[in-house]
């Protein structure tokens, strides 16, 4: 049996990823709004952190949380404008491999599919990343997969 990667103490996780999260949020939201979003990102991560079962893919996880927080902020502050899909900064293979397949999906479904099947995260973790319930995360992933299936074999 493979040993699960232990979830590191939050302090280490935070120290490792805070700069990158802030960079992503600054680029997306500008310096003023990025600060609040930064705090919101790590508070959301803390809320789910105690239930994580594995310390794998924490970078992808927290960047997904950050993107979702940013989308929420943009939605709040520019309600009439089309939400622009943000570039995926992550260069891990799973994202790259899945990108050609999943790029056409609605953002939430795409994130759920990538986190579920690219990173093998639990629905619990995905829910935290998407800022939704576990049920909603499961549904987003399964709707996404169905959509892909229809696309592959119409």
């Amino acid at each position: 049996m493979m040993m699960a990667v232990a979830v590191p103490p939050f302090e280490r996780f935070y120290a490792e990823h805070r700069s990158e999260v802030l960079r992503l949020l600054r680029r997306t939201l500008g310096p003023t709004r990025a600060d609040d979003a930064f705090q919101e990102t790590f508070l959301r991560a803390l809320q789910a952190y105690g239930r994580l079962e594995s310390g794998e893919h924490l970078r992808a996880w927290v960047l997904t949380i950050a993107r979702n927080v940013a989308i929420d902020v943009l939605r709040r502050t520019r309600p009439t404008q089309e939400i622009v899909e943000m570039p995926v900064e992550d260069e891990r293979p799973a994202y790259e491999q899945l990108a050609p397949l999943t790029n056409g999906l609605p953002p939430k479904e795409r994130r759920a599919v990538v986190l579920r099947y690219g990173y093998d995260l639990s629905y619990d973790q995905i829910a935290a990343a998407l800022g939704s319930s576990e049920d909603a995360a499961r549904q987003a992933a399964s709707t996404g997969v169905r959509r892909l299936r229809r696309r592959i074999s119409p």
């Binding site: 103490p9 700069s19 600054r26 930064f38």
Partner: protein, 186 residues
């Protein structure tokens, strides 16, 4: 990109205020050197003379959960009581203690230890007897040596039967200094 200290501070404060931290820790200055102080939702969990947190975070996570975060706010009460103690304004501590994970013998010895008064000393043998194990002086010595919460659980007040100070987990110098502070050495 560097996270500013004010942004960092405000996140840490918010995390504690919202109850999202399992174990908070910070370094507290004292006359016996900087102290690594850790507080869980149950109470004071550890005081360590060695302040390199790398040696401590995993231990704290095993004790209280993975949400271990450095935060000044979470150790506010402990810092205040320690400051009062070191400036001679406090003789006993009112802090709740988190003794999770310790064997029952250890806990029973530490509970008796907590009652050894400020400015007085007792012996390993006497403490063993008080904990109901009169022949366990050596085991009591081990418990003192591994005491997770020194100063507040005053293992510095426990000395050898001959009056010899014997030893101290934090180094004999610190034991002497604490006993001097309490007026127990002349």
């Amino acid at each position: 990109m560097t996270v500013s200290s004010s942004l960092d501070r405000s996140l840490r404060d918010a995390a504690v205020t919202l109850g999202l931290v399992d174990v908070g820790y910070d370094v507290v200055d004292s006359p016996v050197g900087p102290l690594f102080v850790a507080v869980s939702d149950r109470g004071l969990a550890a005081i360590v003379y060695d302040t390199r947190p790398d040696d401590q975070l995993e231990r704290l996570a095993r004790l209280g959960g993975p949400r271990v975060l450095r935060s000044s706010r979470s150790v506010d009460d402990a810092r205040r009581e320690l400051d009062e103690y070191f400036t001679g304004r406090r003789r006993g501590f009112d802090l709740a203690l988190d003794l999770r994970g310790l064997p029952s013998f250890t806990v029973s010895v530490l509970r008796k230890l907590a009652h050894v008064p400020y400015g007085e000393t007792t012996t390993y043998g006497a403490l063993a007897a008080r904990a109901g194990h009169p022949r366990a002086a050596r085991a009591v010595g081990t418990v003192m040596n591994r005491n997770r919460i020194p100063i507040v659980l005053p293992c510095h007040r426990v000395v050898g039967a001959s009056g010899d100070l014997v030893g101290y987990g934090g180094g004999l110098d610190r034991k002497v200094k604490l006993l001097e502070l309490e007026g127990a050495l002349h």
